[in-house]
């Protein structure tokens, strides 16, 4: 049988699945692809000279940071480049047919039926005003489904059931907002595969989801594509994830492919300096060695004379949280009806001086609520927060104001954590001014000092947040948090929004600052992989409760609770590392 290339009035029923094709003829061949965007300042070359080959049934991953051109390359295949994007050169051949310059009708016929897509953000990729079933129906009809209404209904339910949605018939009648993120992503996967395409493009299909859900969905996606013989082009920022899921890797950086080849070869023996750095920084690949390195660093630190005094035994507690509980009242639709929601339920933990305590959990675990109570931003319903042996709730206003100096936060979103109207200087100076520290001259000196500390040039202080990158803003946020020389810094997902390499830099910076200044960190994160790189102790939270609490080594080597094990399993690349260590 030859390649079944869809034509506009194809009568092949979609249930037949992709036709059998020669596994040794490339399904997708991209060569010397050039893509540019027209902007106010002229042409921007988003992708330059990209080459890429995908064979039928194969899993290929494109790995890169934001702005690397990975999504742009994928979008170009089905001609869905955003805005002013245009393919300016090169060729994209699918099943032997040239797509660059193909007519609109040809491309429309190709989409859905021959090439499916699973988009990145499940929240924004389903039309909120149509039922899920309607949106599946649309996809089926557009791709030549010919059958009675009843057949169509059955097929819609099948599509959703295949994607792992239980009770599919009822689900089909619901609207997207009635679905959780994971369920929406399943629906999108179902739609992407509904018409049995030969190639499925999955653009960061799970990066918006909780880690455990992420794992389930990726497993399911893998199974489905394997069963159907669909080739998978997988776009991700996570090298570990890519290596785990694909046999062939393509690494992109600033619009160019810097390295490509068999996944395991690239992981084991990266050649390009960029790939080397990526492999070294990827948190999900962080083996025991980085932990060892961390501990070694710590030991050598302790040799420093001035740190010996500050690092007495564990009895020295910076923050002690006891039986902390927070109940929110959620107003119901009916007047007077309200339900209690316990966001944090009887949580206790202790942050030792000079140590890093990671509070780990998925969304809704209560970790951020707990952090806000530690920061004094939220009043606990019951329980106490002790800072340096003093119950924070007993402080009078003046003492409370002084207390603020000793504990400072750094938040997740580098775009929201700096006032866009304030220059960098004003942002860092603000805490000093507010607490009446130093003269005008002295404050300026301190701002310069702080910029040095976070490795930013002093000239940055005249700039505004919108001129800085995410990583730079996060450095500024750290500098501002350190301005008052606090003892405790609460890092609320402080590196989660950053690209891998920048994330590694910030983690290094935090580590350096901790040993230089004797800081204690309360590190809030959903990402266990990062925990291993930075934390001494771990508290795992789920649904407001503490599930497990131990040192980092114990949690990683010998998790006691199933939930912790699930979280650990969900770290992309964890199995790879396990294989390496075991074999």
């Amino acid at each position: 049988m030859t390649t079944q290339f869809p034509v506009s009035n194809g009568d092949a029923k979609s249930e037949n699945g992709p036709a059998v094709v020669d596994p040794n003829t490339p399904l997708l061949e991209i060569s010397d692809l050039q893509i540019s965007f027209t902007t106010g300042v002229g042409e921007v070359h988003a992708v330059r000279g990209a080459n890429l080959t995908v064979y039928p049934g194969q899993n290929v991953a494109i790995v890169g940071e934001s702005g690397s051109g990975k999504s742009t390359t994928a979008a170009a295949i089905i001609d869905l480049l955003p805005g002013t994007g245009k393919v300016t050169g090169g060729s994209i051949r699918f099943a032997g047919r040239e797509l660059v310059g193909a007519s609109r009708a040809e491309k429309e016929a190709l989409r859905g039926r021959a090439i499916g897509m699973v988009p990145q953000d499940p929240m924004s990729n389903l039309n909120p005003v149509w039922r899920i079933g309607t949106q599946v129906t649309e996809a089926l009809k557009a791709n030549g489904f010919k059958g009675s209404k009843a057949e169509l209904r059955t097929r819609v339910a099948d599509v959703l059931a295949e994607a792992g949605l239980p009770d599919a018939e009822r689900r089909a009648r619901q609207y997207p907002h009635e679905f959780s993120g994971g369920m929406r992503q399943r629906a999108l996967i179902g739609i992407g595969l509904a018409s049995r395409p030969q190639l499925l493009i999955a653009d960061e299909p799970t990066s918006a989801l909780d880690v455990t859900v992420q794992r389930q969905i990726l497993d399911h996606l893998g199974e489905m594509t394997r069963d159907l013989g669909t080739a998978l082009l997988f776009i991700t920022h996570d090298l570990g994830l890519a290596a785990e899921r694909a046999e062939h890797l393509v690494v992109m950086f600033k619009g160019q492919i810097v390295e490509s080849g068999p996944a395991q070869q690239i992981l084991a023996d990266p050649q390009h300096p960029y790939t080397k750095r990526l492999v070294a920084s990827a948190p999900s690949l962080a083996s025991r060695r980085i932990q060892t390195a961390h501990v070694q660093g710590r030991e050598s630190e302790e040799l420093h004379a001035h740190h010996l005094g500050q690092k007495p035994p564990a009895s020295n507690e910076a923050v002690k949280v006891t039986d902390l509980t927070k109940v929110f009242q959620i107003r119901g639709a009916r007047p007077g009806s309200s339900t209690d929601f316990t966001a944090v339920d009887d949580v206790s933990f202790t942050l030792g001086r000079g140590r890093t305590l990671a509070l780990v959990g998925e969304s809704g675990s209560g970790k951020s609520t707990a952090a806000n109570m530690v920061l004094g931003l939220l009043e606990p319903t019951s329980g106490t927060v002790e800072f340096d042996g003093t119950d924070v709730s007993t402080l009078n206003p003046k003492q409370a104001f002084e207390f603020r100096r000793r504990i400072q936060p750094v938040f997740q979103n580098p775009y929201g954590s700096l006032d866009p109207m304030f220059s960098i200087f004003r942002s860092i100076e603000e805490p000093l001014k507010l607490h009446g520290v130093g003269s005008k001259k002295g404050r300026e000196k301190r701002v310069r000092e702080l910029l040095d500390m976070v490795s930013l040039p002093q000239s940055a202080m005249r700039r505004f947040p919108n001129e800085l990158s995410g990583g730079q803003r996060q450095r500024i946020a750290i500098a501002r948090a350190l301005a008052l020389k606090p003892e405790v810094v609460v890092l609320d997902e402080a590196v989660s929004a950053l690209d891998v390499l920048v994330q590694a830099q910030i983690l290094d910076l935090l580590d350096d600052l901790q040993s230089d200044l004797g800081l204690s960190y309360l590190f809030i994160t959903h990402d266990l992989a990062v925990v291993r790189q930075i934390a001494d102790d771990v508290v795992v939270m789920q649904n407001g409760k503490v599930v497990e609490q131990a040192t980092t080594d114990e949690v990683f080597d010998n998790p006691r609770k199933q939930y912790t094990r699930d979280l650990l399993d969900a770290i992309p690349g964890a199995h790879l590392v396990g294989n390496v260590a075991g074999g």
């Binding site: 429309e108 988009p119 005003v129 649309e138």
Partner: protein
């Protein structure tokens, strides 16, 4: 759903009471005596003035006056005006033609506003878009009465296509020009709203995903772009029903239509405060009703809004 409706209705009551009290107070709680101003230069004899005051409860304390007025509203009995006509009857006579006018204007602004807005939004930054933007600004900037006069002169007098004024018992044709004038400003807003909304939705993720599913461009435009863009537009149109009816005062004046506007204008000139307040109260009621309708429309159009 019922709970939501009930709660919204409950919220409307204090708003209605507050708004009418505000208007009532501003008309009746001011220096000067409305009755003394009646009867022209010489004024009415003192005895007649007293009689009028008693008739309209103007000799009562303000708050009693207001409560009596509210009772009138509740029983649909606003009393009689200074010329002895039943105000309820005056209102009943005035509304049908204004409602017809407002609905015609609504259709005009919806059809043309959405049509042009869709084209402009689909080709944002193009010639059509730029022209539509400037033209819509002109519609907003030129006051209704100027548009009215210009149309009267050009279409009515010089070209003779449509009747210059509507007069008593106007038919569809003679209301066409007033409806166009009344619709002019809102048309410009509908156009701009549709344009912005369409342009925004065009770059929405779910539109891209719909294309990736293999939908043809017309399908994507109709089912996804237009359907979603219409949510804010339809709610604007709903709220505009109230605005059009109260805005008709200018248009009706120019085209000599005996609707709510004309009657209100007449009452203002004659200093018939009771009639003015009664008519205004009904208009406020329509306005509040239209806004309530919008809330319900919104909930019906956007499944995400679920009466919480």
């Amino acid at each position: 759903m019922l709970w939501y409706l009930g709660r919204r209705l409950l919220q409307v009551i204090p708003v209605f009471l507050g708004a009418t009290l505000l208007l009532y107070a501003m008309v009746f709680l001011r220096p000067g005596d409305p009755v003394a101003a009646l009867g022209g230069e010489r004024g009415l004899p003192e005895a007649v003035q007293e009689q009028i005051r008693a008739e309209y409860n103007l000799d009562q304390p303000f708050i009693i006056q207001y409560l009596l007025f509210l009772r009138g509203v509740a029983t649909l009995d606003f009393g009689v005006d200074f010329r002895g006509r039943e105000i309820t009857e005056v209102i009943a006579n005035a509304f049908p033609v204004t409602i017809q006018l407002a609905l015609m204007a609504l259709v005009i602004e919806a059809v043309f506003g959405i049509g042009f807005g869709l084209v402009a939004g689909m080709r944002k930054g193009g010639i059509f878009d730029a022209t539509a933007l400037v033209v819509s600004l002109v519609f907003i900037a030129v006051p209704t009465f100027v548009v009215g006069f210009v149309l009267q002169i050009v279409v009515g007098v010089q070209l003779g296509w449509l009747p210059v004024t509507a007069g008593r018992d106007p038919d569809f044709i003679s209301l066409l020009m007033p409806a166009m004038v009344l619709a002019a400003v809102s048309f410009a807003y509908v156009l701009r709203l549709t344009r912005t909304s369409v342009a925004e939705n065009l770059s929405a993720d779910y539109v891209r995903t719909a294309r990736a599913r293999g939908l043809r461009r017309t399908q994507v435009t109709g089912r996804h772009v237009l359907r979603n863009s219409l949510i804010p537009v339809v709610t604007f149109l709903g709220a505009d029903i109230g605005a059009l009816m109260s805005g008709a005062i200018i248009t009706e004046g120019i085209f000599n239509i005996n609707g709510v506007g004309g009657t209100l204008y007449d009452a203002i000139i004659r200093g018939e405060s009771i009639t003015v307040v009664s008519l205004t109260t009904v208009l406020v009621l329509v306005y509040i009703g239209a806004n309530l309708l919008v809330d319900l429309l919104y909930a019906a159009l956007d499944p995400r809004i679920r009466y919480a």
